[in-house]
């Protein structure tokens, strides 16, 4: 496995301060002399981040202001944690955070693993033509606009829709499934899988393609069955990709866009379906409460970041693969 994080040498603590500073400065110069072409190669990216991502970053401080778009950042008063308190004061704050996390959690459990399994299964298809056709068809739902997918779903889940027909066939009573809060997360995550499984599997297919075929040959010579090959060659081969993507996904635990939620939920399913973004949306971003929405965004970011740090640490210890 690849070690991606650099740790500085721990064994120089005994040196004197003069020696220490001298050796650090020397190390830097040596490092620069050796690696300057690499630093040149990474410079465009670094400049990009500096200008376009760090440049506007002062905007996250809007969360602590009573921000007026007219007076901008320098002209708006600071109000400390007021915006955050406004959010957490609501009796629904806990609920919407919980719903966001729960939906993302289930999306992680199913929406993350199913594309991997799908990629593995697809990889076992011999017929190249069939493989390509399947692959093309399964990623098509990704391109259908959310509003159409939601429309289809509303249709299928109504009391005269296809799911109701199936229920009746098995002897049940037809009901509207989107009116049942206990089903909302299932329907939502299910629709995410339906829409994104094919697309999300692409990256795993690429990782599978990168596994050295010589390793398979060696395993076959050793007499490994298909299953053993998968277990000993394939999965270890794509493990770094899986782990990195998993860490990234964990770091999105608070991110749930409101567009699809708004199209699928209704007051009966607020209990399980109202998430942070839909709650903030209903508050009326049209009112342009920039400070408030920045505060909620900052809160989400902080939680995401904390999760990523934890996940990264765990992964670094367990698997030696980590984000930094």
């Amino acid at each position: 496995m690849v070690l991606l994080n650099n740790k500085s040498n721990k064994y120089q603590l005994q040196a004197t301060s003069a020696q220490l500073s001298e050796s650090w400065f020397k190390k830097i110069s040596i490092d620069w002399k050796k690696y300057w072409p690499l630093y040149m190669m990474v410079l465009p990216a670094v400049l990009f981040y500096l200008v376009w991502l760090y440049g506007p970053m002062w905007g996250s401080l809007i969360a602590f202001q009573d921000f007026s778009i007219r007076h901008g950042f320098l002209g708006s008063p600071f109000v400390g944690l007021e915006n955050f308190i406004k959010f957490f004061e609501s009796p629904f704050a806990f609920r919407v955070v919980r719903n966001t996390v729960m939906i993302n959690f289930w999306n992680l459990v199913f929406g993350f693993t199913l594309p991997i399994i799908f990629a593995l299964l697809l990889n076992e298809i011999r017929n190249r033509y069939f493989k390509r056709v399947v692959q093309t068809i399964t990623y098509m739902p990704y391109f259908i606009a959310v509003i159409v997918v939601a429309g289809l779903l509303v249709n299928f889940t109504s009391s005269d829709g296809i799911f109701a027909d199936i229920t009746v066939f098995f002897g049940g009573a037809p009901t509207n499934l989107l009116a049942r809060p206990e089903l909302f997360r299932t329907i939502f995550v299910g629709s995410e899988i339906w829409q994104f499984m094919g697309w999300n599997s692409i990256i795993f297919l690429a990782a599978l393609a990168a596994v050295n075929t010589e390793l398979y040959e060696a395993a076959i010579i050793d007499g490994a069955s298909k299953l053993k090959q998968i277990y000993h060659v394939t999965i270890p081969g794509i493990m770094p990709t899986i782990i990195i993507l998993l860490i990234l996904q964990v770091g999105s635990i608070m991110n749930l866009g409101f567009e699809k939620i708004i199209l699928l939920y209704n007051p009966l399913t607020f209990e399980t379906g109202d998430v942070i973004s839909s709650f903030v949306f209903r508050r009326g971003i049209e009112n342009a409460e920039f400070g408030f929405s920045a505060a909620v965004g900052l809160f989400n970011s902080a939680v995401n970041f904390a999760m990523v740090i934890i996940a990264n640490r765990i992964s670094a210890v367990l698997t030696e693969t980590s984000l930094w």
Binding site: S17, S21, W58, S68, I69, R70, G72, V154, L178, E271
Partner: protein, 595 residues
């Protein structure tokens, strides 16, 4: 210990901070003005100017003689509304106090408006604006926000102080509309009003034979300041949405139009049994539903939101009538009289369900009835529907709540002048120009388009549309699509709100619903201070969520109706008392606006 190493780290941190500070300064530069003190304390109530007929025009020109063609071919009479074209009384609502042209040397005003059309490149193609320019000498240039991104474009313009001369129906100003004036984005109109530059507007506020009081109140804020141009429906169409019934089903089943709640129950049961459907299409919190139409909830003298019960503001769901309404809905739902998919229906699905012949009664806006009739008749040629009034729950009851449009339309229909007019020295001209839209002559132009081009008056005092494209069968375009070519719709002017081609059902619906009063409906033009507004918004977000959720739960039976009292007390725990206080204070201030 490792001081030298630390030094480098400190230097690095300092450099990073300096870099960040430079970037912040560079980027956030536009905002350097001081926050302006709210001039509320010093502003007097807008005083009405002296009688305009006694003076010269605002720019010193002599006034034309009173007469039909005395004002550059247009009518002139600054004190009296006159019937120049033999038209019906009900079309007369203003005077003609504007001396044309407004300017001798042409000027250009830049207007920001949301506009998109499949048949026009832009508003400059409109016959209305061409004629307006010909009469007034003021050229109009348009800037359009990207389609669907009006809010972002509006906010960005404010942030960058990149303003047009006029914002036409902009999104809400962050912090409230008056904040726009405080921020020196919007231009306050009171000084121009007091100088006599808005004679048509002033006459309308003081002398309108039917609605002067209401117009007076609704065109200013609590302090008497005028800072927006409103859309004034002097030929009103008060209700645009309400209850409908499938009249062909009534005929089939030998039923009469329902008038009481019991009639309704009977009718719905019969429809369910004979037609084998769940006949009532219901939407609670969104369009055409209870929240907008007071569907059945007004029969119990309650409301879904705030109501003005004889001068006192009450939150509808806390009233005992609300419980009675919930009980009725719950009963109907349990009996299978309400569409079982009603909570999850989206907008298109709702209409489709009705047009598909599955529904016997529904709430709808009159604008939707056209497409539904067309689609419905494609399946069932007998499909027909008619509007019906809100039923009564006891004998002798007077219904006081129904969907209503005020004469002066709400916040989403205003135009605002910006301070750029002052910077460009065009403020006086723009005010006089815009005031022309509130004269009888200008209002007509906006409502109908140029006479002889889009419409003409008939000998009997009515009017008819003559714009050729409206009658082009081959093209098959509807009135709505063609209309921007010759008239304006959501702009600020003296408006005939019925000047559209409407289905007979739609016209009839306005009449039918209009027979009931809307006394208890909250006025559209309450004003709040920014602090009140923020406080109210904070409370109402939670209250609304809870109310939306619990109402549906009560109706479908997920929540037993015995818990109604707990529901009300939870609402109160969310700060409803304070919200009611704020609303009442605002309502009192509203009615205190007087002449």
């Amino acid at each position: 210990m490792a001081k030298s190493t630390l030094n480098f780290k400190i230097i690095g941190i300092v450099l990073a901070v300096v870099l960040l500070a430079v970037v912040i300064f560079f980027v956030a530069r536009p905002a350097q003005e001081q926050v302006v003190e709210d001039p509320a304390q010093e502003e007097p109530i807008a005083e009405d100017p002296a009688d305009p007929a006694a003076q010269l025009n605002w720019d010193g020109r002599p006034l034309p003689a009173i007469g039909r063609d005395t004002n550059h071919g247009r009518p002139f009479n600054p004190t009296e509304k006159v019937n120049w074209d033999g038209r019906h009384e009900r079309f007369l609502h203003g005077v003609n106090a504007t001396v044309l042209p407004v300017v001798e040397d042409p000027v250009t005003l830049t207007l920001w408006a949301s506009f998109t059309s499949p048949i026009m490149e832009g508003l400059h193609e409109s016959y209305f604006f061409k004629e307006l320019e010909a009469r007034t000498g003021v050229r109009t240039e348009f800037v359009y926000p990207p389609v669907g991104e009006a809010v972002t474009n509006f906010n960005m313009r404010i942030a960058a102080h990149d303003l047009p001369h006029i914002f036409v129906t902009p999104p809400p100003y962050p912090g409230g509309e008056w904040q726009g004036v405080v921020d020196e984005i919007y231009l306050e109109l009171t000084p121009y009003y007091e100088r006599g530059l808005m004679p048509n507007f002033s006459w309308m506020r003081n002398n309108h034979h039917l609605f002067a009081e209401e117009i007076y109140r609704d065109t200013m804020d609590d302090e008497g300041r005028i800072f927006f141009w409103p859309k004034v429906d002097v030929v009103p169409s008060h209700p645009w949405s309400g209850l409908w019934v499938r009249t062909d089903w009534l005929e089939d089943l030998g039923l009469e139009m329902p008038e009481t709640i019991d009639d309704w129950t009977h009718m719905l049961r019969t429809m369910r049994d004979e037609k084998n459907v769940a006949p009532l299409a219901l939407n609670v919190s969104l369009w055409y539903g209870v929240a907008y139409n007071y569907m059945f909830v007004s029969s119990f003298e309650a409301g879904y939101d705030w109501i003005n019960k004889d001068g006192e503001v009450v939150f509808g769901p806390t009233l005992p009538g609300y419980r009675q309404w919930l009980e009725l809905m719950n009963k109907w739902h349990a009996e299978g009289l309400i569409d079982p998919d009603f909570p999850a229906r989206d907008f298109a699905g709702y209409n489709a369900h009705i047009a598909g012949g599955n529904i016997g009664a529904f709430g709808l806006a009159y604008g939707e009835i056209g497409p539904i009739l067309t689609a419905g008749r494609a399946i069932d040629p007998d499909f027909s529907a008619q509007a019906v009034v809100m039923p009564t729950s006891y004998a002798g009851q007077v219904i006081r709540l129904r969907q209503n449009n005020a004469i002066v339309r709400g916040r989403g229909n205003r135009e605002y002048f910006t301070t750029r007019l002052v910077d460009d020295g065009l403020d006086d001209i723009a005010v006089v120009w815009k005031d022309y839209w509130f004269s009888q002559d200008g209002g007509d132009l906006a409502s109908y388009g140029p006479e002889g081009v889009s419409f003409r008056w008939l000998p009997d005092g009515e009017y008819e549309w003559i714009f050729p494209r409206l009658f082009d069968e081959e093209e098959g375009l509807d009135f709505w699509t063609i209309m921007p070519q010759f008239k304006v719709h959501n702009w600020a002017y003296l408006r005939n709100s019925l000047a559209y081609m409407m289905t007979p059902e739609a016209l009839q619906s306005i009449e039918i619903w209009g027979t009931q009063s809307a006394d208890w409906v909250m006025p559209d033009h309450l004003a709040f201070t920014p602090e009140e507004e923020a406080e109210l918004a904070g409370i109402m977000v939670d209250v609304n969520t809870y109310r939306d959720e619990m109402t549906l739960r009560f109706i479908v039976g997920d929540e037993p109706l015995g818990n109604f009292d707990a529901f009300v007390s939870t609402l109160e725990d969310m700060g409803l008392a304070r919200a009611t206080e704020i609303m009442n204070a605002s309502l009192d201030r509203y009615f205190a606006r007087g002449r």
